[in-house]
């Protein structure tokens, strides 16, 4: 969290992460160049750059797309999510090098504008085997550029998390365009079964992970809390909530995180104001609910971020009766203080 906008919010974790990331990028390009020069001694420098950056960007995009569902399936992957934006911007930089060099190599020697040439040099738009695949890569790069430009918290705050998140889900469109770009481009030109198998494996892996994570979320949302008294729903027994942690309940299509801390229980909206992160998967640190995605913090009783921050969450009333936690899904205005339910010794089994 930061009270003002900074170009890059460096901290020790991000420095280590980015060092590893750019170390990997340089190592990949170096090894790719060496292997290519050994196998194809006549290959030009431009061709090596185009090939190495294309394969690297495609690999990085697959890693990026795996991170989200992996985190929803297993919390151990959360540190990767914390730095995903840096990975995304780095991937865009690599993809840009591929795009720019491709346009220079294949479209800059004619007598028409190189960008216009991407669209007009091959007009077999109705043929699958001769489709102008570079057009697909061009549009994918535009989407990635839009995402990289708006990746900063300035845009997140000004566009609102909901619009920002919807905008960044365009990465799936970009992915579909890039897969088609690769298939109608290099795989058809090279006639390689290996490339075909690799692309198909990547597509199946990404799809399977996203579906598995989405169905897990759907199962969570489908749990019905039938027992109801005076508007309060029975959620669980008090012992089911670990100390300084939460359990999440979905009531009336809204997920609510019920936290147990310091002998008290409070409930707030499960949706972090920063990037809609799942607060219920976070923990209490320094007396504050801490989002597992980017560390945004809120006080559990009133849902307010500690000063000088101004983010506020909806709060909910909780009761503890005979060791059982009851929750009223009618929320209060964001930032409203709600007296926490007290956990007495006899509430513990």
């Amino acid at each position: 969290m930061s009270v003002s906008y900074v170009a890059i919010g460096w901290n020790a974790h991000k420095k280590v992460y980015d060092s590893i990331l750019w170390g990997f990028i340089l190592l990949y390009i170096t090894l790719f160049c060496m292997v290519n020069l050994l196998l194809y001694p006549d290959v030009t420098q431009e061709t090596i750059i185009i090939r190495s950056t294309s394969t690297l960007a495609f690999l990085l995009l697959h890693i990026i797309l795996c991170i989200g569902p992996l985190c929803r399936l297993n919390n151990a992957f959360l540190p990767l999510l914390y730095n995903r934006r840096h990975l995304g911007v780095s991937m865009f930089c690599v993809a840009s090098v591929h795009g720019v060099f491709s346009i220079i190599q294949f479209h800059s020697l004619g007598n028409i504008n190189p960008v216009l040439s991407v669209f007009t040099s091959n007009t077999d738009y109705f043929s699958l085997s001769r489709f102008p695949f570079q057009v697909l890569g061009f549009f994918a790069l535009l989407i990635l550029m839009m995402m990289a430009v708006t990746s900063h918290d300035f845009w997140l705050n000004n566009l609102s998390p909901r619009i920002w998140k919807s905008l960044h889900m365009m990465v799936y469109v970009a992915y579909a365009l890039i897969v088609t770009h690769v298939m109608l481009g290099v795989v058809q030109l090279e006639h390689s079964l290996i490339y075909f198998v690799l692309v198909l494996t990547g597509v199946i892996l990404i799809s399977a992970l996203h579906l598995a994570a989405a169905y897990k979320e759907k199962r969570t949302d489908a749990v019905i809390y039938k027992t109801e008294e005076e508007g309060f729903h029975l959620i669980c027994s008090i012992d089911e909530i670990p100390d300084d942690r939460a359990i999440t309940a979905c009531l009336e299509k809204e997920r609510i995180a019920v936290f147990k801390y310091d002998g008290k229980v409070s409930a707030v909206s499960n949706v972090c104001k920063h990037q809609n992160g799942p607060l219920g998967e976070g923990k209490i640190i320094d007396g504050c609910i801490t989002c597992p995605w980017h560390g945004y913090q809120y006080k559990p009783a009133d849902g307010r971020a500690p000063a000088p921050f101004k983010e506020k969450l909806k709060t909910f009333e909780v009761r503890i009766i005979n060791n059982k936690v009851w929750l009223n899904p009618k929320g209060f205005e964001e930032g409203t203080f709600v007296e926490p339910a007290l956990v007495r010794m006899k509430d513990h089994a």
Binding site: D42, T44, L109, G110, N111, L128, S129, R130, R162, K165, S166, M169, Y172, Y175, A176, V179, T180, M183, L184, V187, Q188, H191, F196, V199, L200, V203, I204, S207, A208, H210, L211, A214, Y215, E217, K218, D221, C250, K253, E254, R255, V271, N276, P278
Partner: protein, 142 residues
């Protein structure tokens, strides 16, 4: 994520999980059947049998055959350097009866295109389309 985003997410991936693998497989299945290996310099080892020599405009076209493999080569020599000139090269034969783009003639003095005889048989027709002068020429190689 909020409920609506989670729902949209599942919907998107239900569609993509069907469309993307299908698209990959279909793209592979419609791969053009004639493998082309275009060399951008003359270092490629040339096939020994010189079957045909044709001279047209700025180019000399040698058709070479391999004694050992079912392949043929088009060895195209540019007589004079022509700046900003882009020439597209298409092939047509009685096996694949339509014009197929096999490459672009660059400013290299010699270019070699290797083609499979399984997919091209005699007589072979070449079409050279000069984009700068907006001209095209058809050459038959017997």
């Amino acid at each position: 994520m909020i409920y609506k985003l989670r729902k949209n997410h599942l919907f998107i991936w239900k569609i993509l999980a069907v469309i993307l693998p299908l698209l990959v497989v279909v793209s592979y299945l419609v791969t053009p059947a004639f493998p082309i290996i275009a060399e951008t310099n003359a270092n490629k080892k040339l096939f020994p049998v010189l079957a045909s020599v044709q001279e047209t405009g700025n180019y000399i076209i040698n058709l070479r055959l391999s004694a050992a493999t079912a392949e043929m080569q088009l060895e195209i020599t540019r007589k004079e350097y022509a700046d900003h000139e882009t020439v597209l090269l298409y092939i047509n034969s009685d096996v694949v009866n339509e014009w197929q783009l096999i490459g672009t003639l660059s400013n290299d003095s010699v270019q070699v295109f290797t083609l499979s005889m399984k997919h091209h048989n005699f007589p072979v027709q070449l079409k050279m389309v000069n984009l700068l002068h907006k001209e095209q020429e058809i050459i038959t190689l017997n």
